[in-house]
Amino acid sequence: MSLLQLENLSVTFGNFRAVDNISYKLEEGEVLGIVGESGSGKSVSSLSVMGLIDFPGKVGANQLTFAGQDLQAMPEKQRRKLTGSDIAMIFQDPMTSLNPCFSVGYQIIEALKTHQGGSKKALKQRAIELLTQVGIPAPESRLNNYPHQLSGGMSQRVMIAMAIACNPRLLIADEPTTALDVTIQAQIIDLLIELQRKKKMGLVLITHDLALVAEVAHRVIVMYAGQIVESGPAAEVFRTPKHPYTQALLASLPESSSGKARLEALPGVVPGQYDRPQGCLLSPRCPYAQEQCHKVEPDNQGPLDRQVKCHTPLDSEGRPAA
């Protein structure tokens, strides 16, 4: 039984499909990378797993299960018991993700109290432990700090402490370092990976950093305009990308041999609500697009653990199939 399993999950806002029939699985203790440009539906799909999509957004799926429990069928109250305890999430901007009116201690203890309870003293002790675990020096005095007294890196550590407070089995990290200084980014990622290994959590790591995904993720999903265009073992996907979009993303990495700027690699932006093209959603930007690409939406091809959604998947040389 997989830890998390989604099948044909869609999230719609009115008649706009922000997430369009995506399916993936995550095993216990596995790291899954999700990459893709801004607006490709990474956050929305993760929020739907957390149950945080608000009206008028609608979530629908053939299957959405956590450790065998059907998240869609269970009553709201029961689902909230999972949210924040077994399934936790940290967000992109730690500076705005903590409530400015409450101390660090209050916010951590609140997470503990909601799901576990315990005496005041025990809760405080546990909060100090958590701050120590995420590498915050002088944790006892930090408990009384307010968010505005913390740096970005420190805030993200507090967010992580809050997320792991109830020993989640699944942690979703939505671009956890995008808003931080470059020097801090590596520290936060190291911390996340260390915690993931120690606690054997499943980790969904959403990021722009392809090199990072290649390094730490077991599997990777590449999303474009709400769809999964390619998925597979991380190392393999990056060595021999099969989708032109993945290829373009890799080409835009500074260390890639071509050294081209991102826009050169793939001009244009992710289509939004009003400019969704017919056929393959990438077709207007794809250098290899042919006639059928503009008319017919491609199906997923290949074995289940190495799929690509393209009419002309790339071969090992990086050239489109005839």
Binding site: G84, S85, F91, D93, S97, H148, Q149, M162
Partner: protein, 336 residues
Amino acid sequence: MFQFIFRRLSLVIPTFIGITLLTFTLIHMIPGDPIEVMAGERGVSPERHAELSAQLGLDKPLYEQYFHYVVGIAQGDLGQSLVTREPVMNEFLTLFPATVELAICAAIFAILVGLPAGIFAAVKRGTVLDHSVMTLSLTGYSMPIFWWALLLMLVFSVTLGWTPVSGRIDVVYWIDNTTGFMLIDSWLSGEEGAFKSAVSHLILPSIVLGTIPMAVIARMTRSSMLEVLSEDYIRTARAKGIAPWRVIVIHALRNALIPVITVIGLQVGTLLSGAILTETVFAWPGIGKWLIESISRRDYPVVQGGILIVATIIIVVNLLVDIAYGVVNPRIRHNR
């Protein structure tokens, strides 16, 4: 924090000078003087007029009168009423509790109704409930006090006979003035029905006076809540799996209240100025009615002194609001 309070206090003196100058000028610009008003249609002979003017000090040049007045204030003396010969301060202190009682009840009404209405409207944004709250509050805000008072009086006092028309308590009761607050005094009197009578006299004036602040509070709470509800930390709170009411009441409201408290504080001005009309309509013996009457009598010291005291109260309350603002907002508490 202390530095901040001192900075605010240093602005108070120029404000006071401005207020004295303004009220002095305006009241003297109204045609007619107290002697003519008191004499009424009978008129007064020029000799008698001059004699009385000299007695009241009204024969001196205006700048000298102003100077005299300001020196008096500096010594804590607001002068005497030209009509009753009572010190202005005494008259004020006698009448002020009635106004405070009315204003407090109006404020309680405004907060008790406005705050929840604003919260509900924000949480249920875009629904019928939201639209109704917004429409009603806009109506309340634009309702002329005079007209609104008469309308309520017509319906509830005259037609339905549920509430009395005017005054603070039924004339059959004779209540000792212990605290000046009729609710408390009537309670203490132990007379049967006195407290109930006091309450029923307060209801309509409180609603009338509280309507505009209520509308302002509801709208401010709604927009402040809407802003806060879209903040990242609300998403964080929900991601913890805490109950929705807790997200709203603990995480959102605490932040949303920061601007609302300022607005509530600013309503003290609205309440005191609104009290003038409300008290006049409901024959409520407070400072509003007192000021209106003293203007029509050209009782210069009362008008000047009364307005100065009211202005002082508003300034002090605003200062307290700023301090309260710092207490609920840790960012300000630490930075100042």
